[in-house]
């Protein structure tokens, strides 16, 4: 079965975020960009599906030319093909816009698939909007935030994480799923994979090519302001006898925080 995986380039989790207040965006200089961690689970799952069911794995990324680095990483992990959907627009945090681009690309150019995989959210925008929106635009069933997936014939059976429990969902294929941590353990790139990825041609599609109008691509969200949170001030630190400090802690909770 052929699978499509959509991945995004984001600053790694160790990044300290600084803001460009004039342009209401983050300052990219000095940040280390990686494949969004949840997307790695999606790529790994697609590779495992290929290993057990055959077919091909194609990875896509919507973004600037710099996204090629993460597409190469996915190729080095073992993906068969990679496609850049070139979009140089600044981060708008608008999931609908990205979903429209993805849905159009699939409708117009890539019709042979059994499963579309995403990370449950991109690290940064933290939206968790695009997978469900793409599913809706393509008229497909969705199972988001999955920790387990089994495929049998034309059916996918998944466990989806909810508060304090899991939901079992069985869907006809093709379907859209999004990966949660715990789904699998993403593999490292192999040396052979890295060498192959280096040589691999990555086709580029533009939004203009997809016939999307300026209106369709206009963000539905306006950023009014972007700020870093006020720094918390360190409070009181105590040290000493365990019984004594434990009591001081209880007193703090009772008298100052008033949570008990």
């Amino acid at each position: 079965m052929n699978t499509f995986v959509f991945i995004k380039r984001v600053p790694d989790t160790e990044s300290k975020i600084r803001i460009d207040h004039e342009n209401n965006c983050i300052i990219e200089e000095g940040l280390n960009f990686v494949m969004s961690p949840y997307d790695e689970y999606a790529v790994e799952e697609a590779l495992q599906i290929r290993e057990s069911k055959g077919g091909t794995v194609t990875v896509f990324s919507v973004g600037s030319e710099e996204s090629i680095i993460i597409l190469k990483k996915a190729l080095a992990m073992g993906a068969d093909e990679a496609v850049l959907i070139r979009d140089d627009a600044p981060e708008s945090y608008d999931g609908l816009r990205t979903a429209r681009i993805i849905a159009e690309a699939i409708k117009q150019k890539y019709s042979e698939y059994g499963l579309i995989l995403f990370g449950k959210q991109s690290m940064g925008a933290d939206n968790a909007q695009v997978p469900a929106m793409v599913a809706e635009m393509l008229g497909l069933p969705q199972v988001n935030v999955i920790t387990q997936l089994e495929l049998e014939g034309n059916t996918g059976s998944a466990l989806r994480e909810i508060e304090g429990a899991s939901e079992k969902v069985t869907v006809p294929l093709p379907a859209v799923v999004s990966a949660q941590k715990g789904l699998n353990e993403p593999r490292y790139e192999t040396l052979k994979g890295i060498m192959m990825a280096k040589r691999k041609q990555i086709p580029v599609i533009t939004t203009a090519e997809l016939g999307l109008s300026d209106e369709q691509l206009a963000p539905q969200l306006t950023i009014v302001r972007m700020e870093t949170p006020p720094a918390r001030e360190a409070g009181k630190i105590v040290e000493g006898d365990a019984a004594e400090t434990a009591q001081q802690l209880v007193d703090f909770l009772h008298e100052e925080a008033k949570v008990i």
Partner: protein, 324 residues
């Protein structure tokens, strides 16, 4: 009106939905609009009148036996038809597992954008403006959703529940749901043994890191959650990656972003990606052997010491304080 989706789990309205309804009612008041609630499912009519007290002037109940189990496609289908009929300027969801799954599907059906995980909402020039964390709380963005209806999901545990509304009315609509729209319905729910509250819903989080040294020692924290009301066990990424506790409990950038009233951190150093996920907690208390642990830089109260010695005393102290 501002329309608020009300989530039902195990036959009960979720508290986070009441938070969303209360916030919807507050903002609707400023806009001189009503707040309406919508229930989607089967046999939910009995829950409707309970929503009047939280400000719902009208409760729409979308009824069909095919909706007895959650299905994002079918629920979006049903909600979409109601939104088309009512044309509300805003539609609110709670940012629960279900809300985060359903809201974008509805938004895409309507062809509108949305803002996720909002933590503040106000009225500006006759429309809603929201603040939401990005990068798991390392930054905050103020947004205006320019499309209509304005769709937002509201982070649980942030907006106060407000009781005090009066009467309302209920309208039950038997909705048509094409059979093929239930293709992604939930077949069964599997509950993790012994879990009560999710970290995103807890008012108090008792969290542990590498300093706990073993999976068994998380029982020390579970004990504390049995004493503390509305509490849940949290964990750092390294504790989860060591296999000591399930990922469901992980707080931080590759886990959950939380804003409890109290965050109690035991043996947890406070890596930047962890701090991002919990820095908006009202109070942070840390116990750690290392006086230089970054967690102390954000803690309102810190104890430098051995958690294994402190927890037994803490347990007794808390029991006593709670009994008073």
């Amino acid at each position: 009106m501002i329309l608020v989706y009300i989530e039902v789990r195990d036959g009960k309205v979720k508290k986070s939905s009441l938070e969303a309804l209360s916030e919807g009612k507050r903002r609707a008041g400023e806009l001189e609009l009503e707040a309406h609630a919508v229930l989607v499912g089967h046999g939910l009519e009995g829950l409707a009148s309970g929503l009047y007290a939280y400000g719902a002037a009208k409760v729409h109940v979308l009824e069909n036996t095919l909706l007895s189990h959650y299905s994002p496609s079918a629920y979006a289908y049903a909600l979409h038809s109601l939104v088309e009929e009512l044309q509300p300027p805003a539609l609110l969801f709670s940012a629960t597992a279900l809300g985060k799954d359903l809201a974008p599907r509805v938004a895409a059906k309507l062809g509108v954008g949305m803002a996720s995980e909002c933590t503040r909402m106000e009225v500006q020039e006759g429309r809603l403006e929201v603040v939401r964390p990005v990068f798991a709380g390392k930054a905050f963005v103020t947004f205006r959703v320019t499309s209509t209806p304005q769709i937002m999901t509201l982070r649980p545990n942030v907006f106060p529940v407000e009781e005090g509304g009066g009467s309302g009315e209920t309208e039950v609509k038997e909705v048509v749901v094409p059979e093929n729209q239930t293709h992604d319905r939930v077949i069964e729910q599997l509950r993790e043994e012994g879990t009560e509250l999710d970290v995103t819903e807890a008012e108090i989080i008792v969290s542990g890191g590498r300093g706990l040294k073993s999976p068994e020692n998380f029982d020390l924290l579970r004990d504390l959650t049995h004493i503390l009301p509305h509490s849940a066990v949290g964990a750092s990424r390294s504790a989860v990656d060591s296999g000591w506790i399930d990922h469901q409990h992980q707080v931080g950038q590759t886990g959950k972003t939380v804003s409890p009233d109290l965050y109690l951190a035991f043996g947890l150093s406070g890596a930047i990606q962890h701090l991002a996920g919990m820095a908006s907690s009202k109070y942070i208390v840390a116990v750690n052997k290392d006086p230089d642990a970054p967690i102390f830089k954000v803690a309102d109260f810190g104890v430098v010491g051995d958690l294994f010695e402190i927890i037994p005393h803490l347990k007794e102290g808390l029991k006593k304080a709670l009994a008073e």
